[in-house]
């Protein structure tokens, strides 16, 4: 049983309580899902229940009662920063060593653990960096299980995975769940709603607004889900029925913008991508999809001419003064890597400066449009995740180029930020700006893209025209949960 009573938490640099008199108890064996908008303190709550706060991460905390367990395992979001050893067997052995398991028993236990999470290797001495994201996260689950935990904490274990990887991870969790308590934070409701038997919703003030069975919460608190912008099973169908989406269904043009003819992209002398003949039209919304490592990003870098290329690429907008990669607006997956100045305002001014034009009104308009006006003086790193993402898109769109390329811009975003960005991109598209987007989100592909390029093993495997634009009954389309 996990129990907190009248929990109060306040971060030193914040002027309000994150939690004020929060009480919660989770009986042994329950499977609990915690949902809430970004900044509601979901992760903090999970780390308190695990005892990481305040024992390891020092955060001022007060509670009348705090009953937690020392017998827990935890899986974090980022597949790359939760391992300390380079090989699969060494990572699992690290956990067994911590538990002082005798060395002779380790190999057998490691095989058992890997079988439990359904990952099989010919040789367990395999480098972790060779694994796919889904395999890495299942390895993380295995190392959590190695502690034989009574409570398993899952802190958005699939936030950085593609659809296939997410499915593998949740299938694994479904198959291993037994007696132990499981506390989950997850955005992808379609995977978890069947596993859990209780949903707790926090609001943006860190207060519990709902606490009931999944079906009850999804039915009776839909408004709250929408208000706080949390993903729920019908987020997408609601959006598709919305006014802003209806406005999206307009005609699209056929004016060629970029043509690629037998183009290859090279990375350190090896050919990583080859495309025979593809065209980007003005006003297109192209979704580039494919498994992790298939060459999606390489294709984008080829179009941008950031890597060595062979073949012919026609750019129908180029004027020859600037390199191509500065004529295309680009949004990187990690927004922080794009920031070069010390404030939000200057970040936008920097984009304009390169175009020899820094107009105060344009910047102010952009700040308003992307809801960044109130934070204009802050350092970009001080922004919340959603704000950082908006700023990175803003720095790209303010240049008013003909084409904008985005590398997985909706990854790990909550519903409110995702739909806001999609509306905004569509607005740009209607102004004649072409959008190319690397994405794992099939919903975006099906409902917003005009063209889908499926990349497999460094080749364009298929060019698909998502059908939703041909049908008029978009609101009725059903969505797998």
């Amino acid at each position: 049983m996990l129990e907190v009573e009248k929990l109060r938490v306040k971060f030193p640099d914040s002027d309000h309580f994150l939690f004020k008199d929060l009480s919660l108890s989770i009986p042994f064996g329950q499977k609990v899902l915690i949902v809430g908008p970004s900044g509601s303190g979901k992760s903090t709550l999970l780390q308190i229940l695990a005892g990481l706060i305040p024992n390891i991460i020092e955060v001022p905390l007060k509670a009348e009662k705090l009953q937690i367990t020392s017998n827990y395992g935890i899986v974090f979001q980022d597949p790359d920063s939760q391992f300390c050893m380079p090989y699969v067997d060494e990572e699992l052995a690290f956990v067994l060593e911590n538990n002082q398991v005798p060395a002779v028993e380790m190999t057998e236990i490691i095989y058992d653990l890997l079988a439990k999470v359904n990952v099989r290797f010919e040789n367990i001495h395999t480098p972790i960096h060779q694994l796919s994201g889904g395999m890495k996260q299942r390895l993380a689950i295995a190392s959590a299980l190695a502690l034989q935990p009574q409570v398993l904490f899952l802190d958005e274990p699939t936030a950085l995975l593609d659809v296939e990887g997410s499915k593998q991870v949740w299938d694994t969790i479904t198959s291993i769940q037994g007696e132990q308590t499981i506390v989950i934070i997850e955005h992808k409701m379609e995977f978890v709603s069947d596993i859990v038997d209780r949903v707790i919703m926090l609001d943006d003030q860190g207060k519990i607004v709902a606490d009931n069975s999944p079906s009850y919460v999804f039915q009776h608190y839909k408004q709250d889900f929408d208000q706080y912008g949390i993903w729920h099973p019908t987020s997408w169908s609601d959006y598709l029925a919305s006014k802003s989406f209806k406005a999206i269904q307009t005609n699209r043009s056929n004016q060629k913008l970029i043509e690629l003819e037998s183009v290859s992209g090279y990375y350190q002398k090896t050919r990583r991508i080859f495309v025979e003949n593809i065209v980007i039209n003005k006003g297109d919304w192209i979704a580039i999809t494919g498994a992790n490592g298939s060459g999606k990003s390489t294709l984008v870098q080829t179009i941008m001419q950031l890597i060595k290329t062979k073949g012919t690429i026609h750019y129908h907008f180029a004027d020859g003064r600037l390199p191509i990669y500065q004529k295309i607006a680009f949004v990187f997956q990690n927004p922080e890597l794009q920031f070069v100045t010390n404030s939000v305002y200057h970040e936008l001014a920097f984009s304009l400066k390169n175009k020899g034009n820094s107009n105060h009104t344009i910047i102010e308009n952009h700040l308003m449009r992307y809801r960044l006006a109130h934070v204009r003086e802050l350092h970009p790193y001080q922004l919340s995740m959603g704000q950082k993402r908006r700023l990175s898109v803003a720095t790209a769109t303010i240049m008013a180029e003909d084409i904008i390329i985005l590398d997985e811009p909706t990854f790990g975003q909550d519903a409110i930020n995702t739909f806001m960005m999609l509306d905004c991109l569509e607005e740009l598209r209607q102004q004649g700006i072409t959008i190319v987007m690397v994405t794992h989100d099939q919903q975006i592909v099906d409902h917003l893209a005009t063209k889908e390029w499926i990349i497999e093993q460094g080749q364009l495997a298929e060019e698909r025209y998502p059908c939703s634009f041909l049908s008029k009954e978009v609101g009725d389309s059903t969505h797998a949960l």
Binding site: I57, C84, M85, V95, L322
Partner: protein
């Protein structure tokens, strides 16, 4: 980005890592007390064989890694040759003054530099860091928290490299330009260091929490049991043999007509 080095395991890989480390350090110190360039020359040949034949790495990699040796040799040898003291002048122009004494001293320094590099590579190419730290924990009683801190840090390096490449592209796309000269270097440091540091610190923090969550403790068992074997004895004998042979040959066949560079 990850570099995958494939190599075959040789008996040098099977040596006790800490023992091997100590031997290399002992050799480093010993070399400092050798003043006969002939002796160093023959030692170089001896350890050169070991380096070329028994690290288990591809010939291509070995050759690429040895190329800096030439730079080490030339840079350390020439500075001594050109500007060192000496009485028996061979050539003089402006500041440059080559004498017989300074020439041989330069050659000697160059040989020493190469030998240091060679031994260092011999160690690095045949020792996995993980095993070195395991063995340091077991033999030298290094505290696990320090050993694991190092191992986790080594694990972060490849991620930093790929992040660096992404950052470089990002700055290019944003249209960042640099001044030329020293100011440009300063600008680059500014643009690169803060994002890279911020990402790394955050990632290190996450890794640390993940390790703590896996109940990291200083009382632990060891997956790898590092122990001594007969091979360590052979290794010692081999080193002694190389030293002895080099010394013996250097007294018979002198490549350089000098046996102590310190003598005038």
């Amino acid at each position: 980005m990850h570099f995958e080095l494939t190599y075959r395991q040789t008996w040098l890989h099977a040596l006790h890592p800490v023992f091997k480390f100590v031997m290399v350090i002992v050799l480093f110190v010993a070399i400092l007390f050798i003043h006969n360039p002939n002796f160093l020359f023959y030692m170089l040949i001896g350890f050169g064989f070991l380096y070329i034949g028994w690290t288990g790495h591809s010939f291509k990699l070995i050759s690429i890694l040895s190329s800096p040796f030439l730079i080490i040799f030339v840079s350390s040898a020439t500075s001594m040759m050109f500007f060192g003291d000496g009485t028996n002048t061979w050539y003089k122009i402006g500041l440059i003054h080559i004498t017989e004494e300074s020439f041989y001293r330069g050659v000697h320094l160059g040989l020493r530099g190469i030998l240091f590099g060679l031994l260092g590579l011999l160690f690095a190419l045949t020792t996995r860091p993980v095993l070195l730290f395991y063995s340091a924990m077991q033999t030298l009683k290094l505290k696990p928290k320090y050993a694991y801190a190092f191992m986790a840090a080594i694990n972060l390096l490849p991620i930093m490299v790929s992040e660096f490449q992404t950052l470089r592209n990002a700055l290019k796309v944003r249209g960042v330009t640099y001044n030329s000269g020293i100011k440009g270097v300063y600008q680059r440091i500014q643009y690169f260091s803060i994002p890279l540091l911020a990402q790394s610190i955050r990632r290190a923090h996450r890794t640390a929490i993940a390790m703590e969550a896996k109940q990291f403790s200083n009382d632990r068992t060891y997956y790898y049991q590092v122990s001594y074997s007969l091979k360590d004895l052979y290794f010692t004998f081999l080193i002694l043999a190389i030293m002895a042979t080099s010394f013996w040959v250097s007294t018979i066949y002198s490549v350089f007509p000098i046996d102590n560079v310190r003598m005038r």
